[in-house]
């Protein structure tokens, strides 16, 4: 800069000394240069958008701009040559040479700076992607562990197949993403990043290995536990069977034993006589010595000994027919409190015992809809009677209806004088009887009684409503359930935070590169004119290719970065609108920058 100013002053001095006219011409030329410099600023009201647009078309327009910028510089040089003498020419040449050298240096440094910036940002982004890739690997490995556990367990045979394909898909996607990253990045940066990534991968692998080892031990112990339990179970079964067979053989050989097929648990009806049977085989000639006794376990109450009834409760009685092996305990009028365990005991040494469980139940009768039923006139009366807890189906079920004369109930049957009456009875463990009366009339109102033979009767009151005006309409109750609000997950929050960060980063990079390229663009015109004047034509093709390569490189870097950012964002929050996070001031800039990439994204 200093050298240039000194030379300018010398020129002015010479011109002033020789001619005033030349000085005036020089002044006017300087003014023209200033105007030319101001023109771009006035044209670009939003400077960044213009620079961005210039960046993206390609190298051709830029070259054209440079060619257009050359003529003023050439004119200036020629005019100086015409007006100057030999000494002036020499000084001009020297100044041109020095200017060229300085400018070349500046260009080289700028290019180096740009490369450094690109490498730095690229390296950071690539490392970030590596981290995400590693996290994916960890997640897949975490998924794999449960699969192994499930596969190890005996019950997981069917489930093991399902997760397999999912795991494979995950790993495939991971590989694809890593491949893309590698392909799109320079060699040096990729080398450094891959090295750091390798270290991280090793660390994660070691941790995963540890986890696998820790997880394996419980699974093996579980297997051992399950096998141990199964062994125990099988051994118990075997030993039980063995013992049972031995006992039977011993019993048959040695002395009396219980015939359990004829000595089973008893379910008795409340109030009806119950018989508990105990068949003792091989009692032999020892009948006079051995005694068969009945003992009630509730209070260890001795009931009978042989044919002698010890208890003074007259409800209990011993029944035994000579020449038979059955020793029965008769219980008259059994009550609920008589339920429990009764022991049939043979007075051998040691004594033998057989336990019989007595369950005293009371049949119950239920009518669906009791105690009151309301039926519209003209419709069908459907009464359902259910008899439960009955050891045997009832012999009969009577339906009684008393209307005007309660003291004289009428038995309803299919041959009733009313007509339109049918009775359907399903007998089983739970007996059900249906009474169907068609075309209900007000005279059909009254008490209906279901009277089974072995249970208490149950009645229901039927009200037949008269006329349509009296009908009761039942609406289905509509429950208005409030929908729960979905809580926002922290992952979405973090992803949403990422979007403005990406946008800011993109804008920052764009502005920075625009400034750099603007500076580079401002320099070339003088360089071009100087080179042509000095005759250095081989140098001019060297400059253009460098600029073109840099621009291509930067464009590819930015495209790649933006693409990655959007991909990640879409994976995280597909439903949300990305523009929601953009500020209104920067929307135009973002839209302008994004326009060239839409095709790539699609």
């Amino acid at each position: 800069m200093a050298t240039f100013q000194m030379e300018m002053r010398q020129q002015q001095h010479q011109r002033t000394n020789l001619r005033q006219r030349a000085a005036a011409v020089a002044t006017s030329k300087a003014r023209r240069q200033r105007q030319h410099h101001l023109q771009p600023e006035s044209t670009d009201s939003p400077p960044y958008s213009t620079d961005c647009i210039r960046l993206w078309p390609g190298c051709g327009p830029t070259t054209a701009d440079r060619v257009n910028g050359n003529p003023p510089t050439c004119n200036n040089t020629s005019s100086s040559d015409i007006g100057g003498n030999i000494s002036g020419n020499t000084s001009n040449r020297i100044s041109c040479c020095s200017c060229n050298f300085g400018r070349q240096r500046a260009l080289i440094m700028l290019s180096m700076l740009v490369v450094v910036m690109a490498l730095m940002s690229g390296n950071g982004v690539y490392a970030a992607q590596r981290d995400s890739y590693n996290s994916k690997d960890m997640s897949s490995s975490n998924n794999a562990l449960p699969n192994e556990g499930v596969g190890g367990s005996a019950a997981g045979a069917g489930e093991a197949a399902a997760p397999g394909p999912t795991g494979i898909d995950g790993s495939g996607s991971g590989n694809n993403s890593s491949g893309n990253n590698k392909n799109g990045h320079p060699a040096a940066g990729s080398g450094a990043a891959s090295e750091s990534a390798a270290l991280t991968t090793d660390a994660s692998r070691s941790s995963v290995g540890g986890a696998t080892t820790i997880t394996g031990i419980p699974s093996s112990s579980l297997h051992k536990a399950s096998s141990a339990s199964s062994n125990t179970f099988s051994s118990q079964l075997a030993s039980g069977f063995h013992r049972n067979s031995i006992d039977l053989e011993e019993a048959r050989n040695a002395g009396p034993y219980f015939d359990k097929a004829f000595s089973k648990n008893v379910t008795a009806l409340l109030g009806k006589t119950a018989y508990l049977n105990c068949r003792v085989k091989n009692l032999g000639n020892k009948t006079m010595l051995l005694q068969v006794s009945w003992v009630r376990h509730r209070d260890i109450h001795l009931l009978t000994v042989g044919r002698y009834t010890y208890t003074s409760d007259q409800r209990f009685r011993a029944i035994h027919q000579p020449q038979t092996e059955d020793w029965m305990l008769q219980i008259k009028y059994p009550q609920h409190r008589d339920s429990g365990i009764y022991e049939c005991q043979v007075s051998t040494t040691p004594h033998m015992s057989h336990y019989i469980h007595l369950n005293v139940v009371e049949p119950s009768t239920e009518i669906i809809g009791a105690p009151d039923l309301y039926i519209e006139s003209g419709s069908t009366i459907n009464l359902t009677c259910i008899i439960q807890n009955s050891p045997e189906p009832p012999a009969y079920i009577f339906w009684n209806h008393n209307n005007a004369f309660p003291s004289h109930p009428q038995i309803i049957n299919y041959d009733s004088p009313r007509g339109g009456v049918s009775v359907v009875t399903n007998k089983g463990d739970t007996t059900t009887s249906f009474l169907l009366i068609k075309s209900a009339r007000p005279s059909d109102s009254g008490h209906y009684q279901c009277n089974p033979s072995n249970a208490k009767p149950k009645s229901v009151t039927v009200h037949v409503l008269n006329g349509v005006s009296h009908s009761v309409s039942r609406g289905v109750p509509s429950s208005n359930a409030a929908r729960g609000t979905s809580a926002s997950s922290p992952l979405a929050h973090s992803l949403s935070v990422c979007v403005p960060v990406c946008v800011l980063l993109q804008l920052g990079a764009c502005r920075w590169i625009a400034a750099l390229l603007g500076a580079a663009l401002a320099t070339p015109p003088p360089l071009r004119s100087t080179r042509r004047a000095t005759g250095e034509r081989p140098g001019s093709p060297g400059c253009a290719p460098i600029a073109c390569d840099m621009r291509h490189f930067l464009a590819s870097v930015l495209r790649w970065q933006w693409r990655w950012c959007w991909r990640w964002h879409w994976k995280g929050t597909q439903q949300q609108d990305p523009r929601h996070y953009l500020k209104p001031q920067s929307r135009r800039v973002a839209a302008a920058c994004r326009q060239p990439y839409e095709a790539d994204i699609r």
């Binding site: 300085g102 400018r103 240096r105 500046a106 440094m109 700028l110 180096m112 700076l113 450094v116 910036m117 490498l119 730095m120 940002s121 390296n123 950071g124 982004v125 490392a127 970030a128 981290d131 995400s132 750091s196 270290l199 991280t200 090793d202 660390a203 010595l289 051995l290 005694q291 006794s293 003992v295 209070d299 260890i300 109450h301 001795l302 000994v305 002698y308 010890y310 208890t311 003074s312 409760d313 022991e343 005991q345 007075s347 051998t348 040494t349 040691p350 004594h351 015992s353 973090s494 935070v497 990422c498 960060v501 800011l504 980063l505 920052g508 990079a509 920075w512 400034a515 500076a519 320099t523």
Partner: protein, 451 residues
């Protein structure tokens, strides 16, 4: 009024009388006592019932859920049970009780509802020492070693075991704490010394006579030791002289005398005496009619299966004095020499023992040294592994941070130095560039932080 009162009183009286007569129901006059019987003995359980009337009494063993008797009939086929009835008392006899007979017994009367009483029969078992699970009757142990003498016994209730010495001496247990009686199944003796040799009694008691005991003889074995009271003996020729040694050894040792590498056997010239008390022994050698050839070094030797030791006694000649003054002088010298020399010998022996102890310590030292060195190496390995583990993520983070910082500084320097522009434009553009650059760095930093 009078007649009304009388009628009321009469009615009350008659009501009470009728009630009293009507209430003639069976009832238990007294509860069944809890009976304790030793196994094999007989036991009786009484059930006292008043106003039995036509009802029947039954005995039931609840634990076995077994019917024993009804009225006078024995239902159970176990012949050890029997029933007797005298004066409202139904007595259940259990002969030669077994442990299985232990439990609750119910006396039941067949009224409606049934009435019953319950009593407990406890069958106890005298203590019995289990030889298989106990220390044998004779046991040997090396001196300074540890030994646990065990004594197990069964019985009901579980018996209590105590230890004591047969000779009434105190027992040293738990770091040499002296006790006369020790209560435990296991008697722990640590660093047994020869004084603890003897007979020990293990006594088991559980309150049921008879108590039982077991005699265990403890032998403490050690190598022989010799103590020489006089190591230098002088006597004139022609007289008799007696030298002696005291020795301790167990098992019993072989003792003999050696003179000039020849074993001394009893003969006219030599007479040997040997008296022993437990593990101690006193050996004497009498040399008759001392001659010139008898003066010299005599050795007493004691040898047993664990080792051997010897003592040395020097016999020298004392010339007969011709004048009384000379005799007095010699006697004084002799006593002085006797007093001095034995002490020095004892010191030498003690120093030798000290050397032995030191050697033992040296033997122990290498082991401890090796264990400490192995511990150090293992700790070093663990620390190195932990360092590696911690270094990986930290190193990666540090590397990335440092690289970012360095690159930033380089960029700033280059941009500042090589930009060629007018002063005012230069300043403005450089400031803007710096801000953008820092914004970029900030964005990258956030990127990394989030990821």
């Amino acid at each position: 009024s009078r007649f009304t009162n009388r009628r009321i009183m009469f009615l009350i009286y008659m009501t009470n009388l009728v009630t009293h007569v009507m209430m003639d129901e069976p009832r238990f006059a007294q509860p069944i006592p809890n009976v304790t019987v030793a196994v094999g003995r007989d036991a009786n359980l009484p059930c006292v019932v008043e106003h039995l009337g036509g009802y029947k009494v039954a005995w039931i063993h609840i634990d076995r859920q077994m019917i024993l008797t009804i009225h006078r009939h024995v239902i159970s086929r176990i012949p050890r049970y029997s029933i007797t009835y005298t004066d409202n008392t139904w007595l259940l006899h259990v002969n030669q009780a077994h442990q299985d007979d232990r439990g609750y017994y119910m006396c039941q009367v067949n009224t409606n509802p049934m009435i019953s009483q319950v009593g407990y029969l406890q069958v106890v078992v005298p203590p019995n020492i289990l030889d298989i699970e106990s220390t044998p009757s004779s046991v040997a142990v090396r001196e300074n070693q540890n030994i646990n003498m065990t004594c197990r016994a069964d019985g009901f209730p579980a018996p209590k075991i105590i230890w004591r010495r047969e000779d009434g001496e105190e027992i040293a247990v738990e770091k040499k704490k002296k006790v006369l009686v020790y209560d435990a199944d296991v008697l722990p003796l640590t660093k047994v010394s020869r004084n603890e040799m003897g007979a020990y009694l293990c006594i088991a008691t559980n309150g049921v006579p008879p108590s039982v005991s077991k005699r265990i003889i403890l032998d403490v074995e050690f190598s022989p030791m010799i103590w020489v009271p006089n190591q230098l003996v002088g006597a004139p020729s022609g007289t008799d002289v007696t030298i002696d040694c005291h020795t301790e050894a167990h098992p019993k040792a072989i003792i003999y005398w050696v003179y000039n590498s020849v074993m001394v056997l009893p003969s006219k010239k030599y007479k040997t005496d040997y008296t022993e008390n437990s593990y101690r022994a006193h050996m004497k050698l009498t040399i008759r009619n001392l001659q010139y050839g008898d003066f010299g070094n005599y050795r007493c030797i004691s040898k047993n299966s664990l080792g051997e030791t010897e003592g040395s006694i020097r016999v020298y000649e004392i010339p007969l004095p011709s004048t009384p003054s000379k005799q007095v002088t010699h006697t004084t010298v002799e006593s002085r020499e006797n007093n001095i020399i034995p002490s020095s010998r004892n010191d030498t022996t003690k120093s030798l023992q000290t050397d032995v102890g030191y050697a033992m310590k040296n033997d122990l030292y290498p082991g401890s040294a090796s264990s400490s060195s192995s511990g150090g190496s293992s700790s070093a390995a663990s620390s190195s592994s932990s360092m590696q583990t911690s270094a990986l993520p930290g190193g990666v983070a540090g590397n990335s941070l440092s690289s970012m910082g360095s690159k930033g500084s380089l960029a700033i320097g280059k941009s500042t130095f090589y930009t060629e522009r007018p002063p005012n434009e230069y300043a403005a553009s450089s400031v803007a560039g710096l801000l953008l650059h820092r914004a970029l760095l900030f964005g990258s930093g956030i990127y990394l932080t989030l990821l």
